[in-house]
């Protein structure tokens, strides 16, 4: 039976729910930053999280960076040789990596490799009532558990993105210069002439820093907000990866439109 009132009610409920969650996320972020003093006073806590989300992500970041760079080298050479300008391979690989692919792909990998594990850890802590137990012992779980994981991610992400871009440039060099035979000097000199430190590289680092904040915040929030059951935790992990990916891509568009307007 069609009931317009019930339909409207469910719509209103869904909207209110979303807005409430958004507000909760904002208050949560404020709380994380407010209580993050402990993660710097007890640096060991944060260092452990840098290890978990940064050092343990090294392998996937380095290997994918290398392969992305190698693919860029192959595809770039294939296209550029039609125009007889294969020397521009270096600048093409370097610009696409430092401006876009480095921060974005490293961010996506970071969200699925490190963000999901942070969500799982916090979600399971909540499911097994460890967070409540901390509260009972007058230990603030946000200061003790959430903030170090947030800062660990924020510190790791720009470094991982820089490593990704560097490995990508080396991969492009490997394919372009070593395998195909583009001139080595032209590869590097065109790259150095065309890549501006402030305009291209620093903007890329700012991007990766913003992505690091976004992914870490989404990861700790989804974990903290998860339904404390096995199913709830698994759904929270899925939401972390999906929301992070969408947020990274949307933020990337916004940041790019501010940073690279084609003027200058």
């Amino acid at each position: 039976m069609f009931n317009p009132a019930a339909l409207l009610r469910s719509l209103g409920h869904a909207v209110v729910e979303r807005i409430w969650r958004l507000g909760f996320a904002a208050r949560f972020m404020a709380a994380v930053i407010f209580y993050s003093g402990a993660s710097f006073r007890r640096l060991g806590l944060t260092l452990r999280e840098v290890y978990v989300s940064g050092v343990l992500s090294l392998l996937i970041i380095l290997v994918s960076g290398l392969f992305v760079g190698m693919v860029l080298g192959l595809q770039g050479y294939e296209t550029l040789q039609r125009f007889g300008s294969t020397e521009a391979l270096g600048i093409m690989v370097a610009l696409s990596l430092t401006r876009e692919l480095g921060p974005v792909v490293a961010g996506l990998l970071f969200a699925s490799r490190a963000g999901s594990s942070v969500t799982a850890e916090i979600g399971l802590m909540k499911a097994t009532e460890q967070l409540k137990a901390m509260n009972m012992m007058a230990v603030n779980p946000i200061a003790r558990v959430v903030a170090p994981r947030f800062w660990g991610g924020v510190i790791s992400m720009p470094l991982l993105a820089a490593l990704f871009s560097s490995m990508g440039v080396l991969g492009g060099w490997l394919v372009g210069v070593v395998f195909i035979g583009v001139d080595d000097g032209a590869f590097w000199s065109q790259m150095q002439a065309g890549v501006d430190f402030r305009y291209d590289i620093v903007n890329g680092i700012i991007k990766s820093f913003v992505f690091g904040i976004a992914v870490s915040l989404i990861a700790v929030f989804e974990g903290y907000d998860s339904v404390p059951t096995a199913e709830g935790v698994s759904r929270a992990i899925t939401r972390t990866v999906v929301t992070s990916a969408l947020t990274i891509l949307a933020l990337d568009f916004v940041l790019t439109s501010f940073m690279f307007r084609g003027t200058s």
Partner: protein, 156 residues
């Protein structure tokens, strides 16, 4: 995990991360060449600078000897004032000729110095007197067409 091993790994991670940033800055980017060790300023006035851009190169005999740091419009003489940072190792004679060239058919535009034979050298802050504006393709074509038309009339 043991704290010392943890510290070691995190230190290793941060070190190679910083090394990657340095690699990007020095090997991929232009930070190493952006700072010409010691520079001095020269100015030149052009009627038309075409598509000249700030940070563009200044070349003499094809070698980059400086960078363009500023382009302004002079409301008194209706000319473009181009300020350049020139590498301190190079000195140019007073009668150096500054012209705007294009690299290739569609490449970027740059300021080229054609060196004269004067004994005196340009001092820092001085303005180059002899300049040649950028070639505007439309003017060139219209000149060519007009001269063709004039030729045709003479023959009649």
């Amino acid at each position: 995990m043991n704290r010392t091993v943890l510290d070691l790994w995190v230190g290793f991670f941060v070190a190679i991360g910083i090394a990657a940033v340095l690699f990007l800055a020095l090997k991929v980017g232009n930070l190493s060449s952006a700072h010409l060790s010691e520079t001095y300023v020269l100015q030149a006035k052009f009627d038309n600078i075409g598509g000249l851009k700030v940070r563009g190169p200044v070349k003499s005999a094809g070698v980059v000897v400086g960078r363009i740091v500023d382009i302004k419009f002079d409301p008194a003489s209706y000319e473009a004032v181009v300020t350049m940072n020139i590498d301190g190792r190079y000195q140019f004679p007073k009668d150096t000729f500054a012209a705007i060239y294009t690299a290739g058919l569609l490449g970027e535009q740059f300021v080229g110095f054609d060196v004269g034979g004067d004994e005196k050298m340009l001092k820092p802050g001085e303005t180059i007197a002899k300049t040649q504006s950028a070639v505007v393709l439309e003017k060139l074509i219209s000149q060519f067409l007009f001269s063709k038309a004039a030729d045709g009339q003479e023959k009649k």
